[in-house]
Symmetry: C2
Subunit: 387 residues, 2 copies
């Protein structure tokens, strides 16, 4: 496996701590920290479970945006990764990842040109389409440039975000895709984002099974026309057990299983194995910077360190049991201790489990990789940002 380049510019202000005994105690915060052993166990467990059910793994890199993690997922057996945007795909190709599916339609000024520029011998970048006109114009542009783009139909399972939502519109779209030169029909994508976080497994099973029934009907309809999708890609950490049980997908897009944030910590994954096997590997290390109010402390991690769209960060280490976190502005969080007499000295290190991991990781540039309490590496979050 290629070693990631370490330089101060790429590894940030903690670069000098790599390999240093006790370096973790000197970590400049707020800093994302990855427990390497737990991460590796999560990765192996996922790959094993997917293999066991005859699925291919194509983990969704929107959760980590980190080429070194993608490299390790592929080394562990994944066929490639997903990215959520062209921007993420560009970052991954730049860092040597050569098998990518972009899971949203690529639409907007200049984007088709950039997409076509990613294609090169040995690099596979597939995209989804959900509109006939756009599929045709994409095909024409690819054809003009002398290239062929791999394309999957984006199928909406009920979220209403992207994708075609009826068998009729899917059949019309597949005809456009198959008729056009410049694009090649590779299958369908059917991702159900809205069910992943339904906390109760039986409720999730109920909703998702209905959605998969529609997906099966669509596959049958395509098959009847000789257009059986070679790849059916979708699924997430929340539906992993269901995707394995139902065997409709051929390729699985799990993302958050590597980190297990506060959101997924609250979700029952549905198999005893999976629930036991995936554990939290991603933490935010922070520092106490003020302590003038009894029973509380102010830490250096706020709106710029954590996503705010989901649950609150959960205090994990370095504070009394029962300590809670609240946002306290861009740079700050407030810890509230169980009693007024509890306190923490200035400069204390406090670790928290991250809320919704995807947009949390997007706020950071570096992942500090720790094994046995030593910082063994720092990985760049090269896919963060939007442009």
């Amino acid at each position: 496996m290629q070693k990631v380049e370490i330089s101060h510019r790429l590894a940030g202000p903690n670069a000098r701590l790599i390999g240093k005994p006790g370096g973790l105690l000197e970590l400049t915060t707020p800093a994302l920290v990855l427990d390497l052993e737990t991460f590796e166990r999560n990765m192996r467990t996922y790959q094993h479970q997917v293999n066991l059910h005859g699925l291919k793994a194509r983990p969704h890199a929107k959760s980590h945006k980190c080429p070194e993690i993608a490299r390790r997922q592929i080394a562990a057996g994944a066929v490639g990764v997903c990215t959520a945007s062209l921007h993420e795909a560009e970052a991954f190709v730049r860092h040597g990842i050569n098998n990518i599916l972009i899971t949203s339609p690529v639409i907007g000024a200049g984007k088709l040109d950039r997409l076509l520029q990613l294609l090169a011998p040995g690099i596979s970048v597939a995209v989804v389409v959900d509109d006939q006109e756009r599929a045709a114009s994409m095909a024409a542009a690819a054809h003009r440039s002398g290239q062929v783009l791999d394309v999957l139909l984006d199928v909406d399972l009920g979220m209403g975000r992207t994708g075609v939502s009826s068998i009729e519109s899917a059949l019309q779209l597949v005809n456009v895709v198959c008729d056009a030169e410049g694009i090649s029909y590779r299958g369908i994508q059917a991702y159900s984002g809205s069910v992943q976080h339904i906390v109760d497994f039986a409720a999730r099973d109920d909703v998702y099974t209905g959605q998969l029934r529609f997906l099966s009907e669509l596959i049958t309809a395509l098959d009847k026309r000789g257009l059986k999708p070679p790849t059916v890609t979708g699924g997430g950490t929340g539906t992993l057990a269901l995707d394995c049980r139902e065997s409709i997908l051929t390729e699985h897009q799990g993302g958050s299983y590597i980190f297990m944030d506060v959101e997924y910590g609250a979700v029952t994954l549905g198999t005893n194995d999976a629930d036991a096997a995936f554990a939290t590997s991603l933490f935010l290390h922070s520092t106490v910077i003020s302590k003038n109010v009894p029973g509380t402390a102010t830490i250096d991690a706020g709106l710029k360190s954590f996503a705010t769209d989901g649950p609150l960060p959960r205090v994990s280490d370095g504070a009394p049991a029962g300590t809670t976190y609240a946002f306290f502005g861009d740079e700050h969080g407030r810890l509230t201790f169980p009693t007024l007499t509890h306190g923490l000295p200035l400069g204390s290190s406090v670790a928290l489990v991250t809320p919704h991991c995807d947009p949390t990781v997007n706020l950071h540039d570096y992942l500090h990789v720790v094994r046995n309490n030593t910082i063994v590496d720092i990985w760049e979050i090269a896919g963060r940002g939007v442009l």
Copy 2:
């Protein structure tokens, strides 16, 4: 004024559009766009109002994190800028800004060394302190390095985040600061973050006036001991009219007035002049990427484009009047049109007013600067991120 360097690396994928007629229509999205004329008018109005009342302007750069904006604020008359963190201060010094106040205590492994490394002839970096022990150890470190750090007492007006909150503890702290070699007493900081967004002006006036009474008492107590603060710095866009009326501060830290986000758009600023003069200059340009659900469209701007801690983004341009926005995942937002028959073609450009501007700007790398519908420059948001 020094021209900001333009290169593809520093200006992003839209660099080729600078100066190009019609370039705005080719903007790759999601992209932050600054209306230069409105921004300049906001900047002049603020400086004029602050001057008129005998205050100095020290705008808070946490709102923009952009050295080019800081440079312009100083050129317009500001004595310097504030930053919220050491990380932001480092970015600004690197880009030539030479008068900075860091408005939070600088505490954490390695941070004091980094702070001392910022000091150089011609560069003024002041910090706040709210703890006697830390003030003493900071002084000792500065003294050892042969330098003198400018220090202000951080005074808590009721938010409980940082700062000393009683006259007694302020007097104890000022004694430590004045006795120590290596630090120099420059005054006090008293910022009331919690009142800035109280929507009703009279209610804000009521709470804030009580806080300022405490501040006056503290200043009198310091004065009695021959320690009258040379600088009293604080205030924000929400209290600008009150800070001007009360004349207790000597230096004003307004930040959001340059952009006027959705949050501040809802706040009555208290003077007819100010309310009329500050207008929205910051927008997020997005693109419609899916339209399969009647009455809605999916755009390429979601959790990675907008802060989610405050109000929702407001649709400003490019969609029928009455269109609303909802978050729809990391990369997407859902526009809901006034009726089911409304729609927008794929690829349409839609502009939105940003919610809470500080953490929104933090998500982006580039500010696309527009005058008369032409992209005239792209400014790097060099202070974004946390490390």
